[in-house]
Homo-oligomer: 103 residues x 2
């Protein structure tokens, strides 16, 4: 994934509750839905003690529209009510990027 | 962790080789060393298929100095030679931040 700079990243970090019923289905659904949004570039996720999901977007407007998406709003509410103990959202401008890949 | 905006984030994503001998010791050493650097704010990591480490810094100068740190340069070289199949480094300006925490 090599995109023209600058673009934007949303760093979403979270800690979960013990009641994560329905979470993985919703996470998958939201990832698929995000991919259909205008201005979407990509998404990466990993979780151990803390979960980190970084999604990449072409503009702040695209991020704003995704945040306000009706199905996404419902998922956000479920997250606050059930799945997350805490989370942090950071909206970032990606200013530089470099890559390494083995042959 | 609530820091005055803007500050900077380094999003480091990677995939590993099968030969990760010495990796976790080095990762811990680098995390401890990062904490001692000027302008360091915090660090978060998770790894499944992909590993994501996000470190937070007060300035681009702090990131530049950390990148050029002698011990860190050695770790970066070891990473390219042995531990990583691929990695991507993104230098980002954190422009907005919001948090959720249960009571």
């Amino acid at each position: 994934m090599k995109t023209k700079l600058p673009y934007y990243a949303v760093i979403f970090t979270s800690t979960q509750t013990e009641n994560i019923e329905g979470y993985s289905e919703m996470a998958e659904k939201m990832e698929n839905l995000a991919k259909e949004q205008k201005g979407y570039i990509g998404i990466e996720s990993a979780r151990n003690t803390v979960g980190i999901t970084v999604s990449y977007w072409k503009s702040l407007e695209a991020i704003k529209a995704w945040k306000a998406n009706t199905e996404h709003l419902f998922a956000q509410q479920k997250g606050r009510e059930q799945w997350y103990n805490s989370y942090n959202v950071r909206i970032c401008k990606v200013e530089r990027e470099y890559e390494f890949e083995t042959d």
